[in-house]
Symmetry: C2
Subunit: 215 residues, 2 copies
Amino acid sequence: MKRGNISQNVIRRLPRYMRHLEGLDAEGVERVSSAELGKAMGLTPSQIRQDFSCFGEFGQQGYGYSVKILLSELRGILGINKSFSVILIGAGNLGHALIRNFGFGRYSFRLLAAFDVDPALIGSEIAGVKIFSIDYLPEFIRETHVDIAVLAVPGLSAKSIANIVTKNGVKAIWNFTNIELGMDNEGVLVEDISFADSLLFLSYCLSESTAEEQE
Amino acid sequence: MKRGNISQNVIRRLPRYMRHLEGLDAEGVERVSSAELGKAMGLTPSQIRQDFSCFGEFGQQGYGYSVKILLSELRGILGINKSFSVILIGAGNLGHALIRNFGFGRYSFRLLAAFDVDPALIGSEIAGVKIFSIDYLPEFIRETHVDIAVLAVPGLSAKSIANIVTKNGVKAIWNFTNIELGMDNEGVLVEDISFADSLLFLSYCLSESTAEEQE
DNA sequence: TAGATTGTTAATCGATTAACAATC
DNA sequence: TAGATTGTTAATCGATTAACAATC
C-alpha cells in the first residue's frame, strides 16, 4: 500500500463517506454507484471515484461499489481496526459528555482512563471509566501504551499537560482547548476542535446574508 | 463593502487571525507585519496579505498592520459587533459544558435560553441561563428573535428539532449531533461540529505514521 | 531620502471536473 | 451482447505563492 501524499481534503472526506455508507448498510442497501453516492452527499461522481482511487480499486465496472466491501476498506484506511488507545484529561462537563455520549467504542477506540485535578472526582467512575489524579498521569502513560490523549481541560493548563503527555510518549493529541499547540510540540500530531472558530464561521455567514438583504 | 465570492478557505482562517492578534494585543504588541504573523502562524506572508485584501486595505506600506485596527476590522468582518442571539437545545453534559465553559459572551453572542426534555432540568438555571421545556420552543422562537440554534441533543431527535427551529424562523444551526442536516432544510445555514470526523482524521494520520515505521 | 512593507498582478501549483477507454 | 459504471488521463478551475510597483 504505497501512498503518503494524499491531500487533507481527501482524507477529511473519508469519515463522511463512511457515515453515509453505514447509513446505506443499515438500510440494507447492497450496492451504490458513485453517481448515487454523489447525489446523496452533494459531491460529483468524479470526485468520489478520484478519492477512492487514491487507496485502491474498490468498485466494479458496470456494477458500482459493494456497500459492505467499500465500508470495510474505508474502516481499514481510517485505522479503525487498530483499536487505538485513548486517555481523557479533564473530566469536567465536556469530559463527561465525551465519556458518556461520544461513543469511543463505536470506532474501536479504547478509552482507558480519565484524569482530573478535582478531589471530588478522583477515584470515581463515569460509565465504567475510572478517574485518576492528574499526578498519576506521567506514570500511567509510561506503563501503558497510549496513542491519543484528549485534552478537555481549561486553556490555562493546556500547554503544560501537552508537554507532559508528549514527553512521555503519547503520539497524538485531540485538542478541545482554545490554545494552539502546533508549533511547540514537534513530532506529536495535534487535531484541534475549535468551537469558537466554528461558531465564528457561522457568524460570518449570517452577517453576510443579513447584509445582502439590506441591499 | 462589495464582496460575496470569498472562498471558505479564507473565511475559516479569519478566526485564527483574530485569536493570534488577540494574543499579540494582550502582550501589548502594537504593530505586526505579514512576515511576522506568517511565521507565528505557519502561513506565507503572501497568503496573509491576499486574505486581508479580500476585505479592504488594513495596513500601511513600510509599517505593517496596527494590531488594534486589524483586530477591530476582523471583528467587524466576522459579525461580532452584531451580537447574534443564540438558544441552546439539549442541556445534557455537552449543553452544560457549552453554557458554563464556552463563553458565548466573549464574542458578543447572547445566549438567551436553553431547552430540554428532562423534567429534572426544566425550570432550573445554569450559570444564569434558564432551562425551559422543549414544548415551549416554537412559541419562544416566534416571540423572540433567534439567530442561531445550538443542537446538542441526541442524534435521534436532531432532524425533528431542526425542522421545528427552521420552520419558526431561525436562520442558522450549530449542529453538534452526528446527523447531517444539510440537504433537507434548504435556506438555513448549518455548521457541523463532528467529533467523530475529527478523531477519525487523527486516527488516519496515526495509522499512516505507524505504517511508515514498519517499512 | 532610504528602507520596509503593503496591495496587487502574474506565475505556479494543486484540486476538482470532464471525458473516455476498459471491462464487468 | 448491450448497458452501465468504473479507474484514469486530460482539461479546467481555483487557491497559493512569487514578484514588484506603489508608498508610507
